[in-house]
Symmetry: C2
Subunit: 196 residues, 2 copies
């Protein structure tokens, strides 16, 4: 919504805008507009307001980062390889651009188009590639340690395939991909349908 309004302002030749102006255009309050814009990392100046074209770009990057959203994969075993092959190349704005593993026979190699680094390189690579989210495909007893390494490197979203629950700082969002629940469900409905 903001993006559309900002584009319209640009088209009218407006280069700066105050939060209260944007608020009246959006049917919202100045405080809400300031809160939203701070959330996506934009600050205005009390004197000149917000620069319209910069604001429009910043919002664009946040909603659906027209620049790609890069992910890391940790654990290039059977599951990791299946995920790399499934996600080879870009899928929309998402792509897996770096993989990590502790097995030295895997680091330095390229699997399904993705280079595998050692875990000691994770901080440099995450910062250089602008990676904010990762997929965790390591054995259960290694998952907590690997997840902490990711969080320390600045990753704030983790898709966890290991069957353990991770204890991480609140700023890291975790999604668990629990195989057991899905299999229980299929077995239950399979049995129901079978008996029907």
């Amino acid at each position: 919504m903001y993006r559309r309004l900002l584009q319209a302002e640009l088209d009218r030749g407006v280069s700066n805008i105050f939060s209260h102006n944007l608020a009246s255009l959006a049917g919202s309050t100045a405080a809400q507009v300031r809160r939203d814009l701070t959330y996506i990392g934009c600050t205005g100046s009390p004197k000149t307001g917000y620069p319209v074209s910069e604001l429009r770009d910043a919002i664009g990057r946040c909603l659906s980062p027209n620049g790609e959203e890069r992910l890391a994969l940790v654990g290039v075993g059977d599951l990791g390889r299946a995920i790399l092959s499934r996600f080879r190349g870009r899928q929309g704005h998402l792509s897996i651009t770096a993989a990590f593993d502790t097995d030295i026979s895997k680091t330095g190699r390229v699997t399904h188009g993705c280079r595998c680094y050692s875990m000691s390189e994770i901080e440099d690579v995450v910062r250089r590639e602008g990676i904010v989210a990762a997929i965790l495909a390591v054995p259960a007893d290694e998952a907590q340690g690997a997840a902490e390494t990711l969080a320390m490197a600045g990753v704030t979203g983790i898709l966890n395939f290991a069957p353990v629950s991770l204890r991480l700082p609140r700023n890291v969002h975790v999604e668990n991909n629990d195989l057991t629940m899905a299999i229980e469900k299929v077995a239950f409905f399979g049995r129901e349908n079978h008996n029907a």
Copy 2:
């Protein structure tokens, strides 16, 4: 609930029970009891009613088949191997007891404790092992064909990992394990948390 009631009757030395008796114990109607019991494949006789111990066993098998619930896996590639290793042995009452693949270098071998058969053996093995549900881990363009083979063999529950939607008869329950949605979500929240 029925199971508990039937066990109590057995303990009192009752060997046969009529649907209206079970109904009054369960606070239900005779018609509902007959419907429930037909659903799990049990029929009584108007003269002698239902044999209590057989009925208790049949209900037990249905609710949480104390006998194991056996599943098949189709596609022993990277993902299939990761699933077999994750599900090695019994997990509660679930176990993957047979795998299938079209690759002759895989059939006849045992992977993570599970024997791999050729697709031509699927009907015999599914019937022999009493398999009602399966996990589908084949490439997208093979998924529909493999799913139809499973349905023809009598499988009525499928956990589909391939990124395609399956068209199957109504009696086959399908759960889709969609990787893209989970990754989109993690990337979105990772980005939100990163900017916060």
